[in-house]
């Protein structure tokens, strides 16, 4: 299997350059926030292994919130962040990226503080690539190539079914399966459809995964009691008095964010904020993100993060010595329905992470309440949201659920035989 990797370049931007930078980024779009795949700066469409990408200016409007704790406002740099989610390793993706986008990237990054005409772009990117605390991939191993091939497979089958609906009507499931299978075999034989078998997992990757499963798993178990003690003796007391600050964003700011959304079915979300002060909080969130990373890598690998089925790729990244954190995701539906899905299905999951941020609605034992204060939670998230200047999605208008359906259709075709129930289930996918 080919693993997915990600890149997050973050570099400081002079305050004076933010305006010109945003203007430059806007030239890459065909609609507000929507990247033109063929834009001359970074022609995303040419990067065959790229799933999602975004440019977002990390200009945090909530830096004052820390004063709720009686602490002075701390100034942090404004960063330009460039995020990519892709198949394979970073080195080969960088080759592809630099092949087609070097001049454009140089032009963009030249607005960052430490980028000059003589900077070695590759090394600069490497140096500014931030480690990711937690990343979630909807279906590790599903490559863009597979996504495209399976989408064409589904399309071809749908067209075949519609063209032969009279002949197929009333046929039993097994017959349908056999007939579609024969059709697909014909199409692949004639070269009209391709279903590339998954690449074998590299031994080193497999070993690394195993090591992570056992090693990190053990550490998580061992550290668990310590974190529990932190929660019992420090967090619990702290959360009863922690200031809650989640005012509603004014309409104008809200509309500025929403013009960047709902262009197609899938949307982007970027948000950042400061962590609550204190080492306990920093340790707890580090542990929790580590735990989530572990579950995402070993448990939630089949299209579901706990009960949520609408996230394609998501990640948390610490900034500024773990004083601040960025959350970026690619999800299906509108932001409101996405938040509702989360609140109602995995409110506890939102709480354990986001409640470590300043101002989060009051939690109980880190897990309870919090997000179930639905309106406050939504205000909190909207307020911490950042406008994503440029967003690219290589599979527009295809939900994660549809991707899973396509993969299931293919799996059924590749089976040598199906039981009656399996055949029923398979035909229902069509």
């Amino acid at each position: 299997m080919t693993s997915q990797s990600s890149l997050m370049v973050a570099a400081r931007v002079n305050r004076g350059s933010i305006g010109p930078l945003r203007a430059l980024l806007a030239t890459m779009n065909r609609a507000p926030g929507q990247a033109d795949p063929d834009n001359p700066l970074v022609p995303f469409g040419k990067l065959a292994n790229l799933h999602f990408s975004r440019f977002v200016v990390l200009d945090d409007q909530t830096l004052n919130d820390i004063t709720l704790y009686g602490l002075p406002r701390k100034e942090y740099p404004v960063y330009l962040a460039f995020l990519c989610d892709f198949d394979g390793g970073v080195a080969s993706f960088l080759n592809d990226l630099l092949d087609c986008a070097s001049p454009g990237l140089r032009q963009i990054f030249s607005l960052c503080e430490d980028f000059t005409a003589s900077t070695d772009l590759r090394r600069w990117i490497r140096r500014h690539n931030l480690p990711i605390a937690t990343s979630y991939v909807n279906w590790p191993g599903r490559t863009m190539k597979q996504v495209r091939e399976e989408a064409l497979l589904h399309q071809a089958i749908a067209a075949y079914l519609n063209a032969n609906s009279n002949q197929l009507a009333g046929q039993p499931d097994h017959q349908v399966w056999a007939q579609v299978r024969q059709f697909v075999a014909g199409e692949t034989g004639a070269g009209r459809l391709t279903l590339t078998p998954p690449a074998p997992t590299r031994p080193l990757t497999a070993l690394g995964n195993l090591f992570h499963l056992v090693g990190a798993g053990l550490l998580i178990v061992l550290l668990g009691p310590l974190v529990l003690l932190l929660v019992i003796f420090i967090i619990r007391r702290e959360e009863t008095t922690a200031p809650v600050y989640a005012p509603r964003l004014d309409l104008e700011a809200q509309q500025k964010l929403s013009v960047l959304e709902d262009h197609e079915f899938t949307n982007q979300f970027s948000a950042m904020g400061s962590l609550k002060p204190g080492l306990a909080r920093r340790w707890v969130i580090s542990y929790i993100l580590w735990l989530i990373e572990w579950t995402a890598r070993h448990l939630y690998t089949k299209g579901r993060l706990a009960r949520v089925r609408t996230i394609h790729f998501a990640r948390w990244v610490f900034l500024d010595n773990k004083r601040r954190i960025l959350f970026a995701s690619n999800y299906d539906g509108s932001l409101d329905s996405y938040m509702d899905d989360f609140i109602n299905k995995v409110g506890f999951g939102l709480n354990v992470v986001f409640s470590n941020g300043v101002g989060y609605p009051r939690t109980r034992w880190l897990l309870a309440d919090g997000a179930s204060d639905e309106q406050k939670f939504k205000y909190f998230l909207r307020r911490h949201e950042l406008p994503t200047d440029v967003w690219y999605n290589a599979r527009p208008s295809t939900t994660a659920v549809e991707l899973e359906r396509n993969s299931r259709i293919r799996r059924g075709l590749e089976a040598t035989g199906l039981s009656k129930a399996e055949a029923r289930e398979w035909v229902q996918l069509l």
Binding site: L168, F265, R304, A368, S372, R408, Q428
Partner: protein, 504 residues
């Protein structure tokens, strides 16, 4: 968890009647869309407006008047800006003022606000006065109301007439069967998980000022008790020191939905080679009910909270648990989209461990399981009325007279949180082209059939079969066109009295 103060009683005399009653015996009705001509005169009218309340009476009244305001209307009336800001964003912005909202709600193309008869940004009413009356009484009563005081206060922008189609909507199907039951008594433990689908919904979902399904109070304008004008307002239950402008009030969504009844039945007629029985059957699949209002799925064996036992509720006593593969009621059927009728967890875990297992997502690995859950957060009270003349399917497929007048629904719903209730249902369920794992289709009745992304069509309707391949009907035309709409605040009687005094 500290239990928030519970409302032991809601004073029905303070709640406008529409929240509790559909006024079904008052079969005549019209919606007057008004502009405020003179604020002082409008306030004076508010002080004496004969508003019908939710109080139970031995006999239903002969006439009933209800009044509601847009945010523009409240501003025109003189409500201070800082108070107004306490209302929700969507109410302040309005139904049609934001292209993004229109996109989410499916109000694009032929349904885009620019072409609306009323409610487009340049054409937003201030006040909605609803009049309902027993047969023969409406016209005279309406004339009686147009006193000099009224005329000094308002200009009539538009009068939306309604007609009585005997409990059927214009396509010919029995309508209004599924309504949430409001928990007037505060019996529900608001905020607690709901394993089974329940039709009993916390009062706070339909009235501001009470606990909603999250066990919270939906945001609304609260005012300092020191404000002398606010003296008549009720206190906020969650912040007793404050006065609650929202309490016993709620929001009304009114939309004029023009239905192409001829187009609907003609399309079905073509699809079924003019076989009247099959034509009706196909229509029933799209709606998800029989024309008589019976569900297509089996009645639920267990009772459902909030649905009375007894034959009068038979057509509402069901969930889609009995039909997991959609072979009886298609996934995309209108009633299934409008209310998927599920609880908070898939597989209904009974006790702690299965529930934990379910929460962690390990119990729902099927293709369609748990794509959506918790319908209790997305319910609306529907109080719409039809307009135009009815047509039977047989009449509809015949050629139309030259002067065929439009017909449709003055869709009206009541909810305390427009974005989480009306807008969510409209966006994530009805108009969604990806609802419940479907693709390439939206609501068979309401869909705007606009292609999404890079030209993916959305004009199909899929009917799963018990055996073999699903039937896929393609090329559905647009049957419903939005012709107008707005968001209104339906104040309580005491809030209306407060509004009448804000100029003093």
């Amino acid at each position: 968890m500290p239990t928030p103060p519970n409302h032991s009683q809601i004073d029905p005399k303070d709640v406008q009647g529409l929240v509790r009653f559909g006024y079904k015996t008052l079969t005549e009705g019209c919606y007057l869309l008004l502009r405020i001509r003179n604020a002082a005169a409008a306030r004076a009218w508010c002080a004496v407006a004969p508003v019908a309340t939710s109080e139970f009476m031995d006999h239903p009244p002969d006439v009933a008047l209800q009044v509601a305001f847009t945010s523009a209307g409240l501003r025109a009336l003189g409500l201070p800006g800082d108070v107004l800001e306490g209302f929700s964003d969507e109410f302040l912005a309005g139904l049609a003022d934001d292209e993004n909202r229109s996109k989410r709600l499916g109000d694009v193309g032929a349904s885009a606000p620019e072409s609306w008869q009323w409610g487009s940004p340049a054409n937003i009413p201030d006040v909605l006065v609803m009049l309902f009356a027993v047969p023969g009484r409406l016209a005279g009563w309406r004339d009686m109301l147009q006193t000099d005081a009224w005329k000094a206060a308002f200009d009539l922008m538009h009068c939306l007439d309604t007609s009585d189609m005997g409990g059927h909507e214009p396509f010919g199907f029995v309508d209004g069967v599924s309504q949430p039951a409001i928990d007037w008594e505060g019996a529900r433990n608001s905020g607690a998980s709901q394993i089974q689908y329940s039709n009993l919904v916390s009062a706070g979902e339909f009235l501001l000022g009470y606990l909603n399904e999250y066990g919270k109070y939906t945001d609304r304008p609260l005012m300092d008790s020191s404000d002398a004008k606010a003296a008549e307002l009720l206190p906020a239950l969650d912040v007793p020191a404050k006065k609650d402008l929202g309490r016993n009030g709620t929001f009304v969504v009114l939309r004029t939905l023009e239905q192409d009844v001829r187009g609907f039945w003609r399309f079905l007629d073509r699809q079924t080679q003019s076989n009247a029985a099959e034509r009706q059957q196909l229509g029933q699949r799209m709606v998800g009910r029989t024309m008589d209002g019976d569900p297509l799925v089996q009645e639920s064996a267990a009772p459902i909270e909030g649905i009375p036992s007894g034959p009068q509720s038979d057509s509402n006593r069901f969930t889609f648990d009995q039909d997991p593969s959609g072979t009886r009621c298609p996934f995309g059927g209108h009633v299934r989209r409008a209310n998927p009728r599920n609880g908070d967890f898939p597989n209904k875990p009974g006790w702690l461990l299965p529930r934990l297992w379910s929460m962690l997502g390990f119990s729902s690995l099927g293709m369609r399981t748990d794509i959506m859950a918790s319908t209790r957060f997305h319910r609306i009270l529907r109080r719409g009325r039809e307009y135009g003349t009815p047509l039977t399917p047989a009449q509809a497929v015949e050629s139309a007279p030259a002067d065929d007048a439009p017909r449709g629904l003055q869709f009206l719903c009541i909810n305390a949180n427009i974005s989480r209730q009306f807008e969510f249902i409209q966006n994530a369920w009805l108009m969604s082209t990806k609802f419940d794992g479907l693709a390439g289709e939206s609501d068979p009745l309401l869909g705007n059939r606009t292609a999404i992304g890079d030209g993916l069509t959305t004009d199909a309707f899929t009917i799963p079969r018990e055996q073999g391949v699903r039937t896929c009907i393609e090329g559905l035309p647009q049957f419903v066109r939005v012709r107008g709409g707005a968001y209104f605040f339906l104040p309580s009687v005491s809030a209306l009295r407060y509004l009448s005094r804000i100029g003093d």
